[in-house]
């Protein structure tokens, strides 16, 4: 389990996580990128934001 840095919800990892793997938080749908395995660290994955307000 890892804690989502966005919403602090718990997210389950795959059995054999790999660096660079993208997870999705079940609580806030953030994409989390696995940064390191030991220690296990995740961060918000970068994304392109929409802007409809032109």
């Amino acid at each position: 389990m890892v804690t989502c840095p966005e919403c602090e919800g718990s997210t389950t990892l795959t059995e054999q996580p790999r660096v660079g793997e993208i997870l999705e938080c079940g609580d806030c749908a953030s994409e989390l990128e696995v940064l390191t395995l030991e220690p296990l660290q995740v961060a918000l994955a970068p994304e392109v934001e929409e802007d409809w307000g032109e």
């Binding site: 919403c7 749908a29 994304e47």
Partner: protein, 344 residues
């Protein structure tokens, strides 16, 4: 089976009550009233009920003539008219669930200010329980006088109250509400002609909307509401501008919502970072009893709280049925299992 009557069954809220109650496994609909459509089939004004019922409307006066043939009376009648007759209704049925605005506000002076007329039965106001199970569940278990909140008020209360209770709000709350056309009722007026309504973003209540008083009453905070009619038939969305107290941020806001709505069947926290539906939107809630709540925290301690629901369901008839379920000890989602459409 519990026998129910629906007074004012020809309107949109009345029709939605009939839709939900006809599908409720523990309820028989004994009668539905409409003076204007007495003798006509119920599935005339509510064609979605074809094949589900052979009921015909009866005149409103038959509620008294047929006393004893129903246990619960739902009132879907206009505000200002309901209060004068309420004492009589309370004698007719064991349990009365009122969907008008007349018994939502506890203070008759506040009622007069927002409804433009004196309350004619102020002695009855204190006897009603607010029909919002998420905030009044314990009282509703034993209450036989239930007043269901307004649609925009329900969305506002469910969005604001967890933070108010947690002491996270400071100062005035501004509620910007958007609503679909069904919220203005079944009576056609010039403003509701398709040519006038279609495509409009009509700011029909720039200040002082009646539901403003309900949110203020519940939260204990000063509230300012604006209301705009938008291009939709069903749906309400409220954007509540607030100032967070004591340096609170997104983490505290999310924790307050999680604490308030953990285990709640019909309120979901929707504050996603990705996707088209990252914050509450009524489009996917049509026909369901859900109210989605969410938030976004900005700079300077400001935040926007968002609530969305179907105005005829969680904003009215569905909420009333949920109250019925609470009152009679049934699972709260009995008859309310539908969870919306996508795409819609």
């Amino acid at each position: 089976m519990l026998r129910v009557a629906v007074a004012g069954g020809a309107g949109y809220i009345g029709g939605e009550l009939l839709r939900l109650l006809l599908g409720h496994p523990r309820v028989d609909v004994a009668l539905a009233t409409s003076d204007s459509l007495a003798g006509r089939r119920v599935d005339g004004p509510h064609p979605n009920l074809r094949g589900r019922t052979d009921l015909t409307f009866v005149r409103h006066g038959e509620l008294a003539d047929r006393q004893g043939s129903y246990d619960v009376l739902f009132l879907a009648l206009p505000h200002k008219k309901t209060m004068g007759a309420m004492a009589g209704y309370l004698d007719l049925a064991r349990t009365v669930i009122d969907l008008s605005g007349d018994f939502r506000l506890r203070d008759p002076e506040v009622y007069a200010r927002y409804y433009g007329t004196a309350h004619t039965a102020p002695e009855l106001l204190g006897g009603f329980t607010t029909g919002l199970p998420e905030q009044h569940r314990d009282a509703l278990r034993t209450s036989d006088r239930i007043s269901v909140p307004g649609c925009m008020a329900t969305a506002g209360m469910l969005a604001v109250q967890p933070l108010a209770d947690a002491g996270l709000l400071d100062g005035e709350v501004t509620v910007d509400a958007r609503t679909g056309s069904s919220g203005s009722g079944v009576s056609a007026g010039e403003a509701n002609l398709h040519a006038e309504r279609s495509g409009a973003m009509r700011l029909f209540a720039p200040a002082g909307h009646r539901h403003e008083a309900e949110v203020a009453q519940a939260s204990g905070l000063p509230v300012r509401m604006t209301a705009t009619g938008v291009e939709a038939v069903r749906g309400v969305q409220v954007l509540c501008g607030v100032r967070l107290a004591g340096g609170a941020g997104g983490s505290e806001v999310r924790a307050a919502y999680r604490k308030a709505y953990e285990g709640e069947r019909f309120v979901r926290l929707v504050a996603y970072r990705r996707g088209a539906y990252r914050l509450p939107e009524p489009k996917i809630l049509s026909g369901s009893n859900y109210c989605d709540v969410g938030f976004a925290v900005g700079d300077g301690g400001r935040a926007t709280l968002v609530g969305a629901l179907d105005n005829l369901v969680k904003g009215g008839a569905g909420n009333a049925v949920q109250c019925l379920n609470v009152r009679f000890g049934w699972p709260e989602d009995t008859g309310l299992e539908f969870f919306g459409l996508h795409p819609n």
